[in-house]
């Protein structure tokens, strides 16, 4: 398709920055023929998250896809450039010569390996490409100890990876602290301590003298102070050097210590050649971060398509989670601005350190360091990057705000403020996207690309989203309803701590108005979870949703269904016969439910007490099918009958159903117990599911059916029964206390910060130290269980409320049944019209 008018654009290098450049260029290349040279055996991938390559399942790090490149009309040549001929405007590879009108160098950098004796031995690696990681992984299989030389960002990443491979790991850093470029002395100390606590040996202020060899294989390291350690592997992570050899050989201007010199347009000394990313040197500086590289990529894409944007340096701020430790550094982290002042806050108990560098007048944030807790990072970073005045005193930025009050910093961010520096997205564009309909984080990411780079800005984007939704008049707070300025969890804590016993008290002290159908049942449920009082007590009854109010499930025509408990689905012939007799007596429709119980439908309100009197006389009790509470624990027949079963699932299911029956919760709860891995009880589709193993029980939690089915996740394996019950007690109570109103366990877990790992910490490791309290709360529930129907039948005052009318014994004449397949069903409206006289309104 090449014509004489076509502009030939050649890109050397397909790393993250090279890819970003092509992406930024797409749809603008009307008259361009674009070719990219890629020397690695794959297209661009996410090098920032390289360490996750060792995770299981292995993530897809690919950024550039050949289909995308084809769609963008880009030709990919998987070859290494060997020579640039600027006279002829030609780039050579081993097999061909490619002509260009414009050349973009995105050659990146290579890892620096210090000139240490033994550095080329077998067992020495660098940490840069997927090939490097494959080689490290393979060699680690035969190694016991490993050393990472370099305690910077990437070095610590590499150490984490080695550790994860099961190798005793050392980090050797020449500087007196870890991450010397980003973190100050105090922060470095704390970081060192945290990393040592993970079992990684840290050697700071240490210079490596030589790598000791056994033949040509690494066997240890000797330091300048004479000490030595054993190790079979060494990973060099001592910094990067720009790959400028092609540029250098072609006569382009390079810096004294390397790097291709560029101007504000990212042009090299030859105006038809550009350089971007880690190979480029701007004002004497190499930017070893992805965000500045992306900025350069966008600048060049813009320049080449008629724009005039410029690169004028970039922010070297970083925020990352290194081996689980939050580390953040931004702006003038070392207080080099004249007159600047520093402020510190350390919490030795929590292991956090925060430093702010302030302007001489104390009004602006110039930089800072955060270790152990980066939750304020995006807030502080935007104060710095937008040169905003600090609202309130700067001390509020360091010391956590008291509960309830927070700093108002976020709301004052100007529209022009850059929120996502990786993708260069302003607050204004995010707001625009929200107005345009992108009203959740995934849509905003898709629409603006904010948050798709390092992800550090996502909390800020979330705040802006909330702020914008508020401006649009949409409900975004998590207040339960207009009557309480609290979430369900906050209400739960308030009620628990203040020991309120009635809705009236809670409303008087903490609410407004009279309440409604949202807060009343929610508070009723909280009170029931905490005190397990009879729910139809005078002060509780008007709070209950109709099902709880009449202890039965209201159906579409105002009649009810009755579901007695059949624990574990096990039922005697005598009881089956009673159910049949009751159904026949009151003309009820019978259906086996999905939860192994029998549903009797079509019961008129005024018949409920009589029906239950018959059921209770036969030994049944309430099944709580009406409540947001434990419904059933489904079981299979297990080892008792099944030829595959390895444990007695029916007995366990019955025990658990008996234990948790009547437990009120934010949403209905179901359980399941399977006697073997064939899973006939479908336990993994339940809020808690238990599957027998040869060694005990595997406990799965937070699954559900419903609108969005979700498989339960493994919480703990091979448990004995006592431990299983202990974990279940903790899990259920923790959910009850912290979930939102009508939030299923699956959604709750999705929203739980830290997810399953955190849940395991709380439930299995008892990291919060609340295990005993949760167990005690469950014990209290078990000890105070009562059958609500039995209690109601014993109370003549309560029975009065079941009559349909207060002033006559008549029935609701609008309830009409039709026979179908030998049983009743409610009549549809069109059927009723012919059957009964309509009662007019006024």
């Amino acid at each position: 398709m090449s014509t004489q008018n076509t502009h030939r654009l050649l890109v050397i290098g397909n790393g993250m920055v090279g890819h970003k450049f092509l992406e930024a260029l797409q749809n603008k290349t009307h008259n361009m023929e674009v070719t990219v040279l890629c020397e690695e055996p794959r297209l661009a991938y996410d090098r920032v998250h390289l360490t996750s390559y060792f995770d299981q399942p292995r993530p897809d790090l690919a950024m550039g896809r050949i289909e995308d490149y084809q769609a963008w009309g880009i030709r990919v040549v998987m070859e290494k450039a060997t020579h640039i001929d600027r006279e002829q405007k030609t780039v050579h590879t081993a097999t061909r010569a490619l002509k260009y009108d414009t050349l973009v160098l995105a050659t990146g950098s290579y890892p620096f390996v210090p000139p240490i004796q033994g550095k080329d031995a077998e067992g020495c690696f660098v940490y840069r490409t997927i090939e490097d990681l494959d080689a490290i992984h393979a060699y680690a299989q035969t190694s016991k100890e490993g050393v990472v030389i370099g305690g910077g960002l990437l070095g610590l990443e590499a150490a984490g990876a080695l550790k994860a491979l099961g190798i005793k790991t050392h980090v050797v850093e020449f500087a007196p602290r870890l991450m010397p470029v980003q973190v100050d002395e105090q922060g470095g100390k704390l970081l060192k301590k945290k990393i040592e606590n993970m079992g990684i040996a840290v050697h700071t202020s240490t210079a490596t003298q030589s790598i000791d060899l056994d033949g040509n294989k690494v066997k240890g390291l000797t330091f300048a102070d004479g000490k030595s350690i054993e190790a079979q592997m060494v990973i060099f992570s001592a910094g990067i050097r720009p790959r400028d050899e092609l540029a250098r050989a072609s006569g382009l201007e390079v810096g004294e210590r390397g790097g291709i010199t560029i101007n504000e347009a990212c042009q090299t000394s030859d105006p038809s050649v550009y350089a971007i990313g880690e190979c480029a040197l701007y004002k004497g500086r190499i930017y070893g971060l992805v965000a500045p590289g992306y900025t350069m990529a966008r600048v060049v894409a813009d320049q080449l398509t008629g724009g005039s944007s410029e690169f004028t340096g970039a922010d070297m701020s970083t925020k990352l989670k290194l081996l689980g430790v939050d580390v953040g550094s931004f702006g003038d982290a070392f207080a080099q601005t004249s007159g600047s002042e520093e402020m510190f806050f350390t919490d030795p108990l929590k292991g956090t350190y925060k430093k702010l560098v302030l302007s001489a007048d104390g009004k602006k944030v110039l930089g800072g360091v955060l270790v152990g807790d980066c939750s304020d990072y995006s807030n502080l970073h935007s104060l710095f990057s937008n040169a905003m005045d600090i609202p309130g005193g700067p001390e509020h930025l360091l010391v956590p705000a008291p509960a309830g009050g927070g700093t108002q910093v976020k709301a004052t961010l100007p529209m022009t403020a850059t929120v996502c520096s990786c993708e260069n997205v302003s607050k204004g564009s995010i707001c625009e996207a929200v107005v345009g309909g992108a009203q959740d984080i995934p849509s905003i990411k898709k629409c603006t690309r904010a948050g798709t780079g390092c992800g550090g800005c996502v909390p800020m984007v979330t705040d802006i989203l909330k702020e914008q939704l508020l401006l649009l008049g949409q409900e975004v707070n998590n207040n339960i309803c207009e009557h309480f300025d609290y979430s369900r969890q906050e209400l739960f804590d308030v009620i628990r701590i203040k020991e309120y016993r009635t809705f009236g008290e809670v409303l008087e002290k903490h609410g407004h108005g009279m309440g409604c159908e949202i807060c009343k049942p929610a508070v009723a449920s909280i009170l029931a979870s905490l005190y397990n009082e009879y729910i139809l007590k005078q002060e509780h009854a008007p709070l209950q949703d109709t099902n709880d109010r009449f202890l039965a499930n209201m159906q579409k025509d105002g009649t009810y269904s009755v579901v007695p408990r059949v624990a574990g689905g096990e039922i005697t012939p005598e009881k089956l016969i009673v159910l049949g007799e009751v159904a026949r007596k009151y003309n009820l429709y019978c259906k086996i439910t999905g939860g192994q119980r029998i549903d009797l439908l079509g019961a008129r309100q005024e018949h409920l007490p009589e029906i239950w009197a018959d059921l209770i006389a036969a030994g049944f009790e309430s099944g709580h099918a009406y409540g947001k509470s434990l419904r059933t624990v489904k079981t299979c027949v297990g080892e008792t009958w099944c030829r595959y079963g390895v444990q007695d699932s029916t007995t366990l299911g019955i025990k658990l159903e008996e234990r948790y029956k009547g437990l009120r919760s934010p949403h209905k709860l179901k359980g399941g117990v399977s006697g073997c891995t064939r899973e006939c009880a479908e336990a993994q589709g339940k809020d808690f599911g238990i599957i027998a193993t040869e060694k005990g029980w595997n406990l799965y939690v937070a699954g559900n059916g419903g609108m969005k089915p979700k498989h339960a996740l493994l919480l703990a394996a091979d448990l004995d029964e006592a431990t299983l019950v202990k974990y279940l007690d903790r899990f259920l109570m923790f959910y009850i206390r912290t979930a939102d109103r009508l939030q299923r366990t699956s959604v709750w877990l999705e929203k739980l910060e830290g997810g399953m790992d955190y849940l395991k910490k709380v439930v299995v490791e008892d990291a919060l130290g609340i295990g005993a309290e949760l167990e005690a709360a469950m014990e209290k529930h078990v000890g105070t269980y009562h059958c609500e129907w039995k209690e109601t039948l014993g109370n003549p005052e309560k029975m009065k409320h079941f009559s349909h009318f207060i002033n006559t014994d008549e029935s609701d004449d609008n309830v009409v049944m039709i026979e179908e397949r030998g049983q009743i069903r409610p009549a549809f409206d069109f059927e009723k019209a012919d059957l009964l006289p309509m009662i007019s309104g006024d």
Binding site: G513, M514, P542, D812
Partner: protein, 114 residues
């Protein structure tokens, strides 16, 4: 075929005040009509039709009462449509209105005119 059973509205004594739990409702049959009576405050009652026009079932007396802003309302127990207890207006679309009835308390007795 439908047949209309409209009778002239008269005051009818229904029950005692204490038959209605505070902050809850009861259903009554008055001159052939199903009426929901709510005890909103100690001595403040409202009466509306018991028929939920959205689900076509006589269930409103079993709804939870409360407020939206300054308005006393009941939420239908079936699909939670909320009705203004004073005017019978459906709160999310004033074009739907259900009948309201006069109600008074005398000597501890509840009377409704329907």
């Amino acid at each position: 075929m439908t047949q209309t059973l409209t009778r002239e509205a008269t005051w009818v004594q229904i029950c005692t005040l204490n038959d209605i739990v505070l902050h809850a409702g009861v259903a009554a049959k008055v001159n052939g009509k199903q009426i929901a009576i709510f005890r909103v405050e100690e001595n403040l009652l409202y009466a509306i039709s018991n028929f939920d026009p959205f689900t076509r079932a006589n269930v409103l007396s079993r709804g939870i009462i409360g407020t939206r802003g300054d308005v006393y309302k009941v939420a239908s127990p079936l699909l939670k449509h909320s009705f203004n207890l004073q005017t019978g207006e459906y709160l999310d679309d004033p074009s739907v209105t259900i009948p309201t009835y006069e109600v008074r308390v005398e000597d501890g007795k509840v009377w409704v005119r329907a």
